[in-house]
Symmetry: D2
Subunit: 344 residues, 4 copies
C-alpha cells in the first residue's frame, strides 16, 4: 500500500540522517545548550531576519502549542482560535489541561478574520461584569491552516493590527510552515510573516525532521522564563543537540524550503488529476494537503492500492478525503496515483 | 430605584434569618458535620425520595459546578453542555481551570437535545484515533436554563437514556431549581427529576438563602472522596451549620417551593403586562426570568425608576432585557411596574 | 459539652447579626459592588493606613490562599512556606491543584526566618540549570502561625527585606490576625504590618464573622485582574454585601480588636491554669490557641465535659492538645474550665 | 574536554542508528500504531515475562513521570516519594503542574522504606478530618535512585506489600533501569521487579537510545485511557515508529543489558581509582553514577581535562562531584581518567 494519509509517514530527510550519524558519538552538553543548537538558532534568526528573537527547540507540536500558550496566559485568560484549529480539536484538550479556555470562532476555509477577533475581544470586555467571562488574551492561527489554506499578507497584517490595538499577543502555529510559504498562492516571506507575529513556530516533524519544532519568540515581553515552561511541559529534550542538528541541516542551503516546494508541486499534480476526473475539492488548498470529494466507488477503487484519510462525509455517495504529500513523497508514487485516478 | 436585574438583590428569607439568629451562639463542630446539616440532609432526601443519596452543602454555584465536574472527569475528558450554559459562559473559565474542556453544543431556547448529545458522543468516539480528541464523559444541563426555559419530562428522560446508554453521568445545575419545578409549565416533580440524573444541585443563593447550594449525588460511583473535592475547591464552609440551618428551613413546611411559586406568579404578571403593551419576549420563559424586547424609548422611560439588565441587542431600536423576580419580590413593586408598563 | 476545639464553633458577633437583619430586605447589586462593600473597604484602608490598597472580600480562607497565590505565580513558580503552614498541610493540596509547588522549609515554633528564605532562593537560582527546579517566587507566612506564635517586628522586617531584595512578593495569611495583633506579645501594629507585606488578608471567619476574609493588596503590580481570579476560584459571593456588612461592622468602633483581645485574655487564663497545675505547653503561644501537654488521665477527665482537639502525641502517657478561645468564648465557661483544671 | 558529567552526552547506540537509517524511507502509520512498535512491545513483554502488560512508548522522562502520575491520581490525591526523588526536585514542578502534591519523605541513601510509607499513609488517613489533607494514593520510587543506589529485592517486596495492603499503586521510575539491573549489587531480575510494581518504565534516553521511555503497565486498573493521557501530556510521538525501532533494537540480543553492564564495569573502575587515591564516596553507589568527594585542588586539576558535575559541598575544601559512565563511555577515556586520578 502506498500511503498518502498524512505527512509524517517516513523518517527524516537523508541529509539529516547523514548529519545525525556523523555526529552520533560526539559529546555535547544536554538540554539545548550545545553548539549545534546555537548554530541552528543563528541560521533561523538569519532566515527570519529577526536578530533579536529567542529561539527554542521543542520535541513536538503539542508541546509547542501548550508551552507557548501556557507561558503567555494568566489563569483567567483564554486563547482565540478557529473552531477547526488544532488546539481546539486535535490536542485532547491539552490547552484546557493547562487551565485555559479555547475561545473558538467559526472558521471560513479554516481561517478567522481580524473583524471576528476584534468583535470577540470587544464583546468580552464590554460586559458590565467582564470578570465573569474568560478574558481573551491571545490569538492563535495556523499557517497553513488545518485544511491547507493560507492567510494572505493583508489578512495577517489586519489580524496583527487588531492584536496590537488590544495588546494581545499573536501566535502562529507553523507545523507545516514550509508548505505554506512555498505555495504558489503565498504572498508573504518568512521575514515578513515573522515581523507580523509575536511568537510562532517552524514545524520540523512534518517538514523533513524526525521530530521537533523551532519556537521563535519575537516579542521581548514573552521571553522570560521560557526554558522553565519548556521543561515543565516536558518539551525539553535531554539530548537537545538532536534538534539543533536537524534544524541546522534544514536551514542550510535552503533545504527546508526546497523540500516543501517539492511536496506542493506534487500536491498540485494530484489535485489537477482529481479535477480533470471531475472531482471537486472541499476547499481550495494551495499546499500539500488536498481534499477531493470522491464517490463511494472511487474510494473503494483507490483504497485497494492507496491509504488516504477520511475527512468529511458529504452525502450518502460522496465523501471528502485527504491526500497529503510531503518532502518524502516520490514522484513515481504520484505518477502512479495520477494514472490510477485517470483510470477511475 | 427598584431592582429587577437579578434574583439575588436581597438577603435571605426572614424565616432563615430568624433561625440563624436563634442558633447564633450555639456551639457546633465545623465543616458540615453538625446536627443541622444532618437534619437538612434528611429533609432533602425525603423531598427527593432518594434515601440513598449523598447530600453535600457547598458555598456557591461556581464551587458546586467546578467541584462536581472535577470530581467526575479524568484529565482527558470533557463535559457536554449548551453553548449558553453557565459553565461555558459565566464562570470565568473555572471548568477549564480544573483542566477540562467544555464541549459546547448549539442551544435551542437554552436547551440541548438527546439527539445532539448522542451525535457528539458518537462523533468523538468513532474517529480512527479517538485519543486525539477530548473524550466526552459527562453531560451538564440547567433546570431552568440560563434563559428561564425548562426541559420537559420527556426531554429529560431522553437525555437520561442517552447518558445511560454511553455510561456517562448526567449533571443538572439547579441554581434556580425551585423556579423551574413550580412553574406552571413544569411536568416533572423533584423526585422524578432526581431519579433521572446522576447528580444535581438545589440552589439556595437565588431561592431564599443568603448563599449555598445542596449537591445531591444519586449515583453511588460518584460519591467517593467528594468531601476531599469540596475542600480542595474551597467550597467547604468552616461554620458549615450555616448551610444546614438554611436548607433545613427551606425544606421545612415546603418553604422552598412556596417562595419559588411566588416569584413565578409575579413574573407571569410582568410578562403579561409587556405582552399587553405589544412587547414580544425573546424566549418563552415560564419561570422567574422574563426577556421582553423593548424599544429604546421604553428602556429609557423604565430605566428612570427600575434597574433591569441588558440581554441582547436586537436592532438599532430594540433590545431584549431581563426582568427577574425572586422569593423577595414584593407584590407592590410589581404592581407599580405593571402600571408603569401600561403607561409607556 | 463545652467546646474549645476550635475558634469557629459559634455563628457571628451579635452586632453583625443585628446589621445583617436590619439590612436584610434592602436591594443591592451583587458581587461586591454594593455600598456596604465600598464603606467596608474604606474602613479597612483607614485601619491599615493604606490609602492606595485594593481590598477584596472573599468567601473563605482556602479561597483567599489559593486566589492570592494563583494570581501571583507563573506556572513554573512555587511558594515558600513553613512545613507547618496551612497551605502545606491543611488545604487538601489546593495550592498544588492550581499547579504550584509549595516549597516547605523546616519551621521553628511555626515560623521561618529571613535567612532560611534567602538560602532557599539562592540555592534554587544558583544551580547551573535552574530551569530544572521550581523557581521560588513568593513567600507565605501566617500571623499568628498555625500554632499560635507570632513573628516579631524585627523578624517580619527581615523577611520583608529579603523578599524585596529578590523581588519576590510576601504574602501574610491573617486568618487569625486579630488574635495576633492584640496579643500582649505583639510588637507591631496593623499599619506597620501592612507596610511590610505585598498582600495579606484579615480573617473574618475565626474573628467574629459568619464567614469571609478581606484581602488587602498593597503592591500595585499584584492588583491587575484580581476580580477575575476571585471569580474563577469560586471566591466571589453573589450577595457580596454580606461580606461588606460584616467587615464594616468589625471595623467600626474597633470591634475587630476588642473581641480579639477578649479571646486572648481568656486564653492566657487557661494557660496559666494549666501551668499552675504543672502542665507544660508544647509551644509558647501568646494568642488564642493554647497547647498544654496532658497526661492520659487528665485528658480523660477533661474529656467528660469539654471538647478539645488532639495535636501531637508526646509519649505513651502524654499528649499535646489544643484549647482555643474566640470572640465568642464566655467568661463563665473559662471560669468553669479553670476550676476543673485545678481539680485535676 | 572529556565529558563524564551525565549519561546523555552522545547520540544513540550504533546499532540503533543503523536500524533507523535502514528503515528511514519506509512508510508507516503514526502515533505508535506501526509494526515496529508492535514488535518492540512483544520483545519487552517477553523480557519482563509479563504477557498481559500494556506497553507504551513515550518521548521522554518528564512525560513518562507526569503521564503515569496524572493518569492514576484523582485531583485530591498525592504521590509519596523520597525528598531526593526526581519528581520532587528536577521536574520544574511538572507533577504539581498536573495538580498533585508530591509528598516527600526523608531519604536514606536515596531510598525510602516500607515503614516510612506505611506511617505516612496511616498518619494521613487517621486524622479526624482526613479530607483536609492530601490523600496519599501512589508511591514513586526510582531504580536506581538519583544517587545511583538500588533497592534490594527484600526492600522492594516490602514496599510492594504495603502498597497492596492499602490498595495504592507502586510506580517505579526506571530512567536508568539497565544500570540498576546489571549492577553487581542487584539481587533482582527484570521479571521479578516487574511483578512487584503496578507500573514502571524502562529508560531509553540514558541507556542507548536517542530518546524515549517504555512504560509498562501491569495493573489492569491503570490501563484505561492511557493513550489519551499520553497525547494530552505531549508524550505521543507523531513518527512513533522511531521509538518502536529503538526499543526493538535494545531488546534484541540482550543489547539493553550488555551496554548497561559495560557502563557499570567502567564506573566501578573509576570508583576504585578514587578510593585508591583516598577519596571517599558520598554514597555507596553500585551503578553508573559515582560520587567521589574531592579536594578543591583535585577538582581544579581534573577540571582541566574532564567535565564532571558538582553535587554537594561538604566543607570549604571538599565537594562531592558526580562522574557518570554510560553505554557510550569508551574504555580509553576511562583508562586515561584513572591514570590522571592516580597522578593527582
Amino acid at each position: 500500500m502506498i500511503q498518502f494519509q498524512c505527512d509524517y509517514n517516513e523518517g527524516a530527510h537523508p541529509e539529516i540522517m547523514k548529519r545525525l550519524l556523523e555526529t552520533n558519538m560526539e559529546q555535547t552538553v544536554g538540554y539545548g545548550m550545545d553548539p549545534y543548537c546555537a548554530q541552528a538558532k543563528e541560521a533561523i534568526k538569519t532566515a527570519c531576519q529577526s536578530a533579536d528573537a529567542d529561539i527554542h527547540f521543542l520535541v513536538g507540536g503539542t508541546q509547542a502549542n501548550t508551552t507557548v500558550i501556557a507561558s503567555i496566559l494568566r489563569p483567567y485568560q483564554g486563547v482565540i482560535c478557529a473552531d477547526t484549529g488544532h488546539i481546539n480539536v486535535h490536542e485532547t484538550g491539552a490547552i484546557e489541561h493547562t487551565g485555559h479556555k479555547v475561545i473558538a470562532l467559526p472558521n471560513k476555509e479554516g481561517k478567522i478574520s481580524a473583524r471576528q477577533i476584534e468583535e470577540t475581544i470587544k464583546s468580552h470586555l464590554s460586559e458590565g461584569e467582564p470578570e465573569h467571562l474568560v478574558q481573551p488574551a491571545m490569538v492563535y492561527i495556523s499557517y497553513p491552516t488545518e485544511i491547507g489554506t493560507i492567510y494572505t499578507k493583508k489578512e495577517l497584517t489586519d489580524i496583527s493590527a487588531v492584536c496590537h490595538k488590544y495588546d494581545i499577543p499573536l501566535f502562529l502555529d507553523g507545523a507545516r510552515l514550509g508548505y505554506g510559504l512555498t505555495s504558489e498562492a503565498a504572498d508573504i516571506t518568512l521575514p515578513e510573516l515573522s515581523s507580523l507575529v509575536d511568537v510562532f513556530y517552524i514545524g520540523g516533524t512534518k517538514v523533513g525532521a524526525l521530530f521537533g519544532e523551532a519556537v521563535v519568540i519575537n516579542n521581548p515581553k514573552l521571553k522570560k522564563g521560557f526554558r522553565y515552561h519548556i521543561k515543565q511541559q516536558g518539551g525539553m529534550l535531554a539530548k537537545g543537540r538532536l534538534l539543533g542538528i536537524q534544524f541546522l541541516t534544514l536551514f542550510t542551503d535552503n533545504l527546508y524550503f526546497k523540500i516543501s516546494e517539492h511536496a506542493n508541486k506534487l500536491a498540485m499534480e494530484i489535485r489537477k488529476a482529481f479535477e480533470t476526473k471531475g472531482c471537486p475539492t472541499l476547499v481550495d488548498s494551495p499546499t500539500n494537503q488536498q481534499f477531493p470529494i470522491l464517490t463511494n466507488e472511487m474510494m473503494k477503487k483507490l483504497g485497494e492500492k492507496y491509504i488516504y484519510s477520511l475527512w468529511q462525509k458529504i452525502d450518502d455517495d460522496h465523501t471528502a478525503v485527504r491526500f497529503c504529500t510531503s518532502w518524502a513523497t516520490s514522484e513515481q508514487n504520484v505518477k502512479q496515483l495520477i494514472e490510477d485516478i485517470s483510470n477511475l
